[in-house]
Symmetry: C2
Subunit: 220 residues, 2 copies
DNA sequence: AAAATTTTGGACACTGTTGTAAAATTCCTT
DNA sequence: AAGGAATTTTACAACAGTGTCCAAAATTTT
């Protein structure tokens, strides 16, 4: 039905793979929107543009579907988080601008994208019924990267940009501030606009630097 | 409707009222734990210690049950929030200690109690299906009190305790910081311990005052 | 073009839940 | 203790969703 750009030459099971992805995406949306148990398999199949049988053929029953979605979301979120962490400013001229840009990237590409949203929603909502989910998050997912982020802040402190006692705490406060009043927390599940993200990030970084910025490097 | 401490002589429908409350509590827990649609009415009835019929007799079907729970949770949360806001420090000797105590009260009695937990969970999870829920939150629930909180911070600034540009933003950053790494966000739905609350609140207030505290009144 | 494979739509039995209605029981009033 | 109200028990019909099977249609491969 919807081959994206598989016009020229595709591997043997390209169609199946594409359909599989469509199902996973539809299931992801359904799980986030209605909960894992609430939405019917039929609805997911319709949303994916396939028949119910295809769902059972390519993936399996609800439980396997859930696991497949979690796996994909975890993998993707972890990867994009790593990518963004790699862009953490190292020796910026303007620490405020650099941190703001970093915060915007983090919010837009990790926390507010469809996968990040799905991951946090699923963890919050299904953790009590699937304890392994939270464990996976800690071991293989974004949860394992907190020390890396803390280390970035420690390095920033060592280079004289900020003054902190506890890098881990600083990292958590940084994230709390840049997420402070994202529309996500309030209204429906709509993803915030790029503009809202930038505004929130800038305000959060400003407060963060008021608290932790070195006196000499605080500009503005 | 709900007489509070009618221990000595009970009004005629005291038993019904008590059962009604038990049902509402059980439904609240079930809705938060499993979602509004997932848990069976039977399970709620058993958890409340009544039969399924009594649920239908005293309250009604699932939808009425949901509305009753939302109404109760909203009312209670709003009331306890008001109570705690009333204890906002006015002219404290030690601004840090006073704000920390306030943060502890706010976390413990509003955000981390069963009703606050239920309210935020239900709003996040069911907002898309019951838009009136979020609207109610804004008009009658805790949402309507943000300006009041912002005003408290404005007053604190006027009295020279803190230095802020935007009271509303300061209020949001204050809450973001004191909620920063509450165990709630991570693990299962268990309520955080008093100790964890105090620690998180203290750390949040400390950072808040590093950012916004007046130079002269910042102690330690 | 024919064969092989995948996808589809429909039918099916099955389970679990719902909301209601009647009896049976318990509880309170008098 | 008897009468009456409330509550629980039990039963029931209706319904929605699940997972499976199969034949027909569509699609790919030979």
């Amino acid at each position: 039905m919807n081959q994206i750009d598989s016009s020229i030459v595709e591997p043997p099971s390209a169609r199946a793979s594409s359909k599989r992805q469509a199902i996973l995406d539809a299931a992801k949306r359904s799980f986030v929107r209605d909960g894992v148990i609430a939405g019917g398999i039929d609805a997911i199949a319709v949303e994916a543009g396939v028949s119910r049988q295809t769902v059972y053929n390519l993936i399996g029953d609800r439980d396997q579907l859930f696991r497949a979605v979690v796996e994909e979301v975890t993998t993707r979120s972890s990867a994009s988080l790593m990518t963004v962490i790699a862009t953490f400013p190292s020796r910026p001229d303007d620490i405020q601008a650099a941190l703001t840009d970093f915060a915007v990237r983090m919010l837009g590409r990790c926390l507010c994208d469809i996968d990040g949203q799905a991951l946090s929603t699923l963890i919050k909502r299904e953790a009590h019924k699937h304890p392994e989910l939270f464990k996976t998050w800690e071991e293989y997912g974004p949860g394992k990267d907190w020390p890396v982020i803390a280390a970035q802040f420690a390095r920033l402190a060592r280079d004289g940009y900020i003054e902190i006692d506890d890098p881990s705490l600083a990292a958590r406060h940084f994230f709390a501030l840049i997420c402070s009043d994202l529309p996500t927390d309030k209204g429906p599940c709509a993803l915030p606009t790029e503009e809202a993200i930038r505004k929130t990030a800038a305000a959060g970084v400003k407060t963060f630097l008021r608290a932790f910025g070195s006196r000499q490097s605080t500009s503005a």
